[in-house]
Symmetry: D2
Subunit: 287 residues, 4 copies
């Protein structure tokens, strides 16, 4: 095996015997080798089956479209699968929406520049002009689209014109603006937000102040897919840090920035590596 | 300094200059040495000052009552302090209320037997007879007091007869019964409960199922003082563990038992070592 | 699928295409359903492939011996597999060797009593009589086998007479005695030790003192398989806790006891659930 | 109290009664208010006492030099103290030495730009020219000083000319070059290095490969003061991350970069806030 990963296969279907045999036999006959495999079945009745496969092939001449249509007919149809077969070299195009806070954005841009993020950052959009210089320094287009309660619809139209069909993922890196249900519907399971608390605790505004007032001993951050229901979308990743009575609200915000950077970077990385499957309001993360 | 710790001093008062000088000069004149000192001031205006001191003395003849009355007159009164001076060897008497789950109880009893808990477990009370053998094996009195919705008042009367004036701390180690506001009022800031979630997320019943349904990636447990307002009392300690889509509700419960044991044991230990000061609905923990 | 897990299949073989297809097709033809599957391939050339499968079957009449011989001929031989097919209900028999410290032993016994450890504790052996009462209170046989430098060989002969052929796993729960290479050779990859440091730091005696002297800010514990080379066997699990300048050696020991309990319990649990494959001086843990 | 913190006082002296009383009475008489106080006494005999105080004053006319000379005479001399009284607004001047890896450097520069690092980054020195653009983009002078085994002495002379007397702290942010004992002697307890392992495990070269070969389940990073004895200086901070058999050496390096950034940033921040006291080969960190 000297070639690199060819493709990632993601599958969801009703659980029943024979799924692994059908998939692996199909791939073996086509000369594709399984280099990574992870699966999960839910416990409910009837269960749902999830799988993620990484494929390699020694024969460089296997055309992916042909593999797709054969898989559709021979395997996916009989098992009623929802599935995707993504070429590994097809890097996802990512847009980052940001307000004035730069920490989460910069974490992503630096990970991208270091080669730790297998994606292309196609654009940064902000409702403030402040970060133009920092973003353009990375050679990334920066778009200033003013946005507030009064011009929400207009701002979203402008953003859709910039992004729709041109990006595969929208990241809200502390965007601080409400995103409408209409906008969300254009990118189903393809908008990731970082919420600055351990959801579902402290949903809504100013969560670090809420946490301080409640006197919790641990604070957190949550990356989730955005749905029409604010702060209630499927959670991709969370992380936490210990705090004590010594930490004022400002300290929680500072510590929270560390958490937000880390949690959002992981969630975006996993999404871009096709490691996340959404199922209802939950996620299966094959990390 | 060859003697052991004599006493712990806990103080809360309005913040103003001169507090440390007044306390430390008083103790120095009385021949008491400060072996540990921790303090905290809140940022609000006017601030509140908190302090915890451990004292030693080379002269074994300093009577604590005399030290108390001198401190009251010379230091506490001028600074309007709320304070306690507790002899270190006066071990707190602890009662544990438990239902059928034994894990949190056993953690406390084993910590106590190993000498890791500076307290005396005076009694275990349960609404089920199941754990009598295990408890009496430790040489600790076990009381079976049936309790449910229909005989709440009667059960609490029986428990008060057993405990009031005889214990300094009541620990609800997964007691699974509502405790009335009247009962709580008899032990202000002296009832510790372990809640099996990361509060304030998932208050109420069956929190592990709630957590599973929300699809969180981290679960937690919370030890807090019990107030009339269920699951809303001052938090003493919390801890968390990572979970994934692979964990069913039963797995969360099993992992939660580990968290509950650890978090409750720490909270009880800190309370018994006079390390916790309640301030509104929050705690200052000098751990 | 209404039956429970029938068996766990563990495999190690040279990596090459077709392994998953061969195994899953074999099982599908025999009516066995895969309920859990985890795999790993090493990156070296040629790579090594590892797999763990959990099987169920709706037909209760599939005799495991017949399945084993068919698998050996049809799958294992062609792929040169090292493998085991273990009936899930065949609980491993565990012996615990212990000295005077009871914390790691008690953690295992309580996990076992609560049903959290899928194994049978067949015997506890100690070189001190102190823990007889506590152990027998669990209904578990206790054997006092004095052991020190002068009667090592004799003690090990006595222990072999008690254990060989009667237990599947030997756990050193702070046994504090050297175990000879001859003894180890009788239980290859079947002796688990808990070392009270973050190996490979602080191998040898009194690791908490070593850690304190070095001034580390984190201490740990390590569960590993015992090999002839002291403290150098394959690591199964590790965990850590934060410490500071405030912690004296005694504090590190106390905190270490918590770590040792947790780390050893996890390692023993995973071993008993057939989740660990040893590969050279490392482990693959399908947890 | 409307003024900000005036100064930080750090003290080390032989432990004996009356230290707190002497210091706090002195400050009270001078009109300085204690806004933060932390202390520590070692357990050995005779013990060593450490203290860190933050001071405020309502009278803006207290000259720090006068306070210093009064403190020296009235308090420090009688108690044989080693001490420093540092004006809080006197930000430390920091030089960062770096090779080609930019992650630890960028973490510091971004923390500095966001105002999370109470210091001035005075210069970046590298033995490679690669990072000039990135550094100068922050408005910070970049110096390329080639360095390898053959021109070590010359390189260090050049660096001393650039740094000595001009910076208060030298940070080795993955500098990858040996620093001579002579160079170290010019900055006693004022050079911080980030070592990419959990010291004392895996000292020396290529620690992530060492960790992978040993099969540890946790990897770490260590920030420490540099002494003449390589990788053996006083540890300031450590942190760890879980790994498994799935992680190749490259994965450990990637995860390690996260750890290195975080651990080094914390250590530098604490040093710059006068929170670290070196004592032998250990540190007291009042964080």
């Amino acid at each position: 095996m000297s070639s690199d990963t060819l493709a990632n296969l993601l599958i969801r279907c009703p659980d029943r015997p024979g799924i692994v045999a059908a998939i692996s036999s199909f791939l073996f006959r086509r000369g594709a080798n399984i280099t990574d495999l992870d699966q999960h079945s839910t416990d409910d009745e009837p269960g749902t089956y999830f799988m993620r496969l990484e494929l390699q092939t020694a024969r460089l001449d296997v055309p992916l479209p042909e593999l797709r249509s054969a898989f559709a007919a021979e395997v996916a149809a009989p098992f009623a699968m929802t599935w995707r077969l993504e070429a590994a070299q097809a890097r996802k195009r990512v847009a980052v929406l940001v307000s004035r806070h730069d920490h989460a954005l910069m974490e992503l841009l630096w990970a991208w520049r270091r080669g730790d993020l297998a994606a292309d950052v196609a654009a940064v959009v902000s409702n403030h002009p402040d970060l133009r210089g920092a973003v353009e320094g990375f050679g990334i287009p920066f778009h200033h689209v003013p946005n507030d309660r009064d011009r929400r619809a207009e701002a979203e139209r402008e953003m859709l014109a910039l992004l729709e069909g041109k990006v595969d993922l929208v990241v809200l890196a502390r965007y601080m603006q409400i995103v409408s249900g209409e906008f969300v519907a254009r990118f189903p399971d393809r908008i990731i937000n970082i919420h600055h608390s351990f959801l579902p605790a402290f949903a809504g505004a100013d969560p670090y102040r809420q946490a301080w007032q409640r006197g919790v001993k641990i604070v957190g951050a949550t990356a989730h897919y955005v749905t029409a229901d604010l702060d209630a979308g499927p959670i991709i990743e969370q992380d936490v840090a210990r705090v004590s009575h010594r930490h004022a609200v400002e300290d929680l915000k500072r510590m929270g920035r560390e958490l937000e950077r880390r949690v959002l970077a992981r969630a975006v990385k996993w999404h871009c590596e096709d490691r996340v499957i959404v199922h209802g309001n939950k996620t299966v993360v094959f990390s």
